[in-house]
Amino acid sequence: MSPLLDVRGVTLRYKTPNVLVTATERVSFRVDTSDRFVLLGPSGCGKSTLLKAVGGYLHPSEGEIRIKDRVVKEPGADRMMVFQEFDQLLPWKTVLENVTFPLLNARKMSRRDAEERARAYIEKVGLTRAIDSYPHTLSGGMKQRVAIARGMAMEPDILLMDEPFAALDALTRRTCQDELLQLWEETKFTVLFVTHSIAEAIKIGNRILLLSPHPGRVKAEVRDVDKVSSQDGSAGQLEQQIHDLLFADEPAHH
């Protein structure tokens, strides 16, 4: 069976005014249906760039990205993005309208069906009482929940999450992580999740791809991450192992 997402030998380069930066070099990985696949690495490993390429915002200068055997050429609603920034919600729309907007525009659903589905997903993220609020009245955690509900309501092939909890305070981040896992238990959606936190990667993922920086290359893949638990300390051990691996050839100047 072909994988849901197939990233084959992808090299990504982008131009700054003076230099051509190679963000990732010949990165390959495969994501299967219902995977919680985490891209993990220090800053500069091109994990966000890679996610944007899967989103269709960047074109690989080498290799190709296939989703359900179709080559990714441009952004599309089959891959819904959840960004780190709080301003990803349309400020001129209420929570409900934000969730229904892509359903109406990209899925061409009828208003009634769209609202019904949007309400169901807003309830799943526990925001029913804020359904008619405008985004600026919501807290950071609530905004990210709306963005997740918006992404999930589209029932995309894959949900692309770019450090969605990185800008949240520690307590809210933990709650949001727990809720995301809860949602996954209910619907088993496929998610590609970018983070720079090893603990978050272990908590969220069932597979982790470790990337090394400058340029981003695949260092290792960790499988069966969901077998470890924080109770018996195996999660802590894995965290230490990953840490050692990521910073193994780091020069000792700090």
Binding site: L90, P91, N105
Partner: protein
Amino acid sequence: MSTTMPARIIMSEAAPAADGAVERQLGTAEILWNSGFVRKTVIIVVLALVWEIYARILDNPLLFPTFSDTVTTLWQQTIDGTIPSRALSSIKVLLMGYVAGILLAATLTMLAISTRIGTDFLETMTAMFNPLPAIALLPLALIWFGLGNGSLVFVLVHSVLWAVALNTHSGFRGVSNTLRMVGRNYGLKGLPYVTKILIPAAFPSILTGLKIGWAFAWRTLIAAELVFGVSSGAGGLGWFIFENRNLLDIPAVFAGLLTVIIIGLVVENLIFRTLERRTVQKWGLQH
């Protein structure tokens, strides 16, 4: 969890709030004073009082009529239909120029966001024409379009176009990258992308452009009407002011000026303020 946890958790007892209430209703006076409208009305009333007192002390109706004289003249001329018809003819011309200016600005901005040469064109044109007062084009307009509404509309378009185009364009450029990516994520492209993402996201700047454009247009129109007023027998407010100065009917001149101010205030405080409250303030893009 192990049973030998060294740390201990001591629960605190729930205590009632100190004065029994979390929210307190504000007094009527406080609520009124918190309203900008009330505070500004107070300022206007005080200014009118100062005017009245000063004019009475001066006692020279030819130079400086009292507030009450001005209001009386305003009332009489309003009742007999002079001022309303003059105001109406001004507003009609204004709307023609304003709408034409906005449409042109929209076209220019569309060109500017879709092509690089369009951007350069808009930037060069605004850099050249924005500092040029529209009224300076009036002599030229009179040669081209003659004594009539054509000339007025021409200078009005010029006064509206650059302000609106400049603000709209900078608003579009200020739309955050995240919102752009969200829009493209939904597969929006071309015109739907502009109308459903860019325009609402840039709306604060667009509204500012519309406000500035309106203010420019109103000033330009009154000034232009002072230069030549009558076309097809019905002059505007500027002409009304000019005419009455020639007749040395100074209270009527003041009444004309007051009408110009009142119309300006009404548009600014009722139309634009309402628009602001229903859009950018409701969306939390402006406080």
